[in-house]
């Protein structure tokens, strides 16, 4: 396992069996796959900034313009669905008080899976 800081031991625990139910569930959503991919550089980011990147990703893919409502929806999904779920799975460290998130320490297998998952067919945004 790589030493990429040591956010939580739970994370290591979860990812020592990287393809468990929680991991699959985390990776089942395109938005969550993109979120994880965007955080892979290890930087801590404001949740709003992450939302902007996800909205931009959608907009560039569809060649359309994203409106404020689009980002509000993404923010809602992040705060109420994705981030708690990924935090529980030990994949990110989400600080809901400060409104920031960063990737948890991942083993190479999980990292690779996230990198490859980004090209997977878009099937769901949830």
């Amino acid at each position: 396992m790589k030493e990429n800081g040591s956010q939580t031991d739970e994370a290591r625990g979860a990812l020592s069996r990287p393809f468990d139910h929680q991991f699959y569930r985390a990776m089942a959503s395109r938005e969550r796959r993109r979120l994880l991919y965007a955080l892979l550089d290890g930087e801590e980011r404001a949740v709003e900034e992450v939302a902007t990147v996800l909205v931009g990703w959608d907009a560039t893919e569809s060649g359309t313009v994203a409106h404020p409502d689009d980002r509000n929806l993404v923010l809602l999904r992040l705060v109420h669905i994705h981030l708690p779920l990924l935090d529980d799975a030990g994949l990110v460290a989400y600080d809901d008080e400060r409104g920031t998130v960063r990737i948890a320490s991942l083993d190479e297998t999980a990292r690779k899976y996230i990198e490859q998952g980004i090209d997977a067919k878009p099937e769901s945004t949830r």
Partner: protein
């Protein structure tokens, strides 16, 4: 003629953040030329294509893919048969960049905005469209396009220095002027017809290094622009002109 208007339009309160790879071609320069503050955020490889996030008065106002902006600004302005793809982007760019004074605007940018205004007038097929040319002879190249536009039912008023006698076209009124007051301006204004919320206009002045100007969707501002134009040809009431053409 429009100088005081140019001066009164506020400087931008928009904030643009360009998300792009470090080596990606970028639209930063375009924004910089328009006196708009630009931040830059690196994008990770394998992520989204470059895009621009817009804040207005501190509030998130939307995201524009760079490809869409470039498509808007690249002549010739290609319009798809359906408006689903491009129209929202055009509309958003109007909303987002509304009433910002731009410096060093390129001619192609003015053309792109002019086309949007003309298209809107054509889609609605009502109301009046006021267009100025430096000289009336410049209008020659626009005859086919404007003949078509006039067929939609839009009343068209063309202004310009009196150096050519354009052919009569049903629906088009010419306002030749000789005082030289129009020559340096590029003006396109549409009043929205029955729906003033569709009002839109572009005003630009030619300067040594390009154009300085703004565009607007505000019906009040568009009405002001139209009133200024009316002073060019005070002998000919625009209302009369409209009615004789139908």
């Amino acid at each position: 003629m429009f100088d005081s208007m140019l001066a009164s339009v506020q400087q931008s309160t928009h904030r643009f953040t360009v998300y792009a790879d470090d080596d990606a071609p970028s639209v930063d320069d375009w924004f910089a030329n328009h006196s708009v503050a630009v931040d830059r955020q690196p994008l990770f490889p394998g992520g989204p294509d470059p895009f621009v996030a817009v804040e207005r008065d501190g509030e998130f106002a939307g995201v524009l893919p760079v490809a869409v902006i470039e498509r808007l600004l690249e002549p010739p302005v290609v319009r798809p048969q359906t408006t689903d793809g491009l129209s929202p982007a055009y509309r958003a760019l109007f909303e987002v960049l509304d009433e910002t004074v731009y410096t060093s605007m390129a001619r192609r940018e003015l053309l792109a905005v002019s086309r949007e205004i003309e298209d809107r007038a054509g889609r609605l097929g009502t109301g009046s469209l006021h267009v100025s040319f430096q000289r009336l002879s410049v209008f020659r190249t626009q005859l086919p396009a404007y003949s078509k536009l006039a067929e939609t039912g839009v009343a068209i008023h063309v202004y310009g220095e009196d150096d050519w006698m354009p052919p009569a076209i049903p629906g088009v009124v010419y306002h030749p002027e000789s005082a030289g007051s129009m020559g340096e301006y590029w003006v396109v204004a549409f009043d929205g017809g029955d729906d003033p919320t569709q009002s839109c206009a572009l005003v630009a002045r030619e300067e040594a290094d390009g154009y300085r100007g703004f565009w607007t969707n505000h019906e009040e501002m568009v009405a002001r622009i139209r009133r200024r134009l009316e002073t060019v040809d005070p002998d000919q009431s625009l209302t009369e002109g409209d009615s004789t053409l139908r």
